[in-house]
């Protein structure tokens, strides 16, 4: 699994790289700030990203949001911020994991595996829906005589479906 790491502190970045490599991951890119993270996510096509929150130029949560908007991938935050507001912001940005610094080596690989598995599950479900589920589907109901009936399938507020003929 190819991992992008974003961390402005060199020592922590080196430490993270070593941990990931020890656990069989490939570190495909190292970013030192949020902007670099967004660019490297685009150019190196990682399978997952591990992002610090407080970084120069662009913080990790905003970077996560932009990365996710361009190409969904599992993102795990790694930060010293434990306050509810920061966690909530990260959750809203779509991250799949959130590890606190000082982090324990034992938490890194499991967080990435779980994030990757759940993310691919979400992508698979999305693919089945298509991009966005239309509220209304117009179809021609085929008939044996070759005649086609225009039918409209609409979803009500409560989620139930109703089927109506558009015109007699």
């Amino acid at each position: 699994m190819k991992i992008l790491i974003a961390e402005d502190e060199t020592l922590i970045r080196l430490d993270l790289r070593a941990i990931l490599e020890r656990h069989g991951f490939t570190v495909c890119a190292e970013a030192r700030d949020g902007l670099e993270a967004v660019e490297l996510a685009r150019s190196t096509q990682p399978d997952a990203a591990l992002l610090d929150v407080r970084m120069p130029n662009l913080d990790g949560i905003e970077a996560a949001r932009r990365i996710y908007a361009e190409r969904p991938l599992p993102i795990v935050m790694l930060t010293a911020f434990r306050d509810r507001a920061t966690v909530d912001k990260a959750v809203a940005a779509g991250v799949f994991g959130y590890l606190l610094k000082p982090f324990r080596e034992g938490d890194v690989a499991p967080a990435l595996y779980a994030a990757a598995a759940r993310h691919s599950e979400l992508l698979a479900a999305r693919r089945r829906v298509g991009t966005e589920q239309p509220k209304r589907i117009d179809v021609d109901l085929p008939s044996s005589s070759g005649h086609a009936w225009p039918v409209r399938i609409e979803r009500a507020e409560d989620g139930s479906l109703d089927v109506r003929v558009v015109q007699p």
């Binding site: 595996y113 759940r118 008939s143 044996s144 005589s145």
Partner: protein, 188 residues
Amino acid sequence: MRVLIAEDETLIRLDLKGMLESAGLEVCAEARDGVEAVELADSAEPDLAVLDVKMPRLDGIEAARRILDGRPMPIVIVSAFTEKSLVRRAAEAGVYGYLAKPFREEDLLPAIATARARFDQLSAVREQVDSLAEALAARKAIERAKGLLMQNQGLTEQDAFARLRRASQTSGRPMRVIAEAIIQTLGA
């Protein structure tokens, strides 16, 4: 949020319960092994589960798999063991988080928050998948009911459809419901 916890060691279980309650979460059930966890996941109706791995009778990962088969919910694993084989089994079983023991309260809460949010997101997408499937099923049922009406009542296609439509309008029920009733009556 109602949380099920499963942990065979009493002290750790109490500790875990304390952490969750001090964060404002309700511990609705406590299991001491995997079998109990599966039972309580069903009967206590938790919103989320935190499971230990090494437990008597049934381990936490197999318990997670069975819980997800029955009543899907976000699950976070806590374990002193973080070998790759265990972690991968847990990921494949469907867990959202996996924390090494001993953990701190501040490790657990963000794991729960991300698990809950991503689970809700997946559930919403899955509901859409279901409603699309429902739309297709509706189409099929109407087509079949129309065919049955034509065959059994000697109606033209146009009349068969008109009758379905009228039944739907006068009863205030979706055409799929009407179509299914016709299939049940005439299709047997």
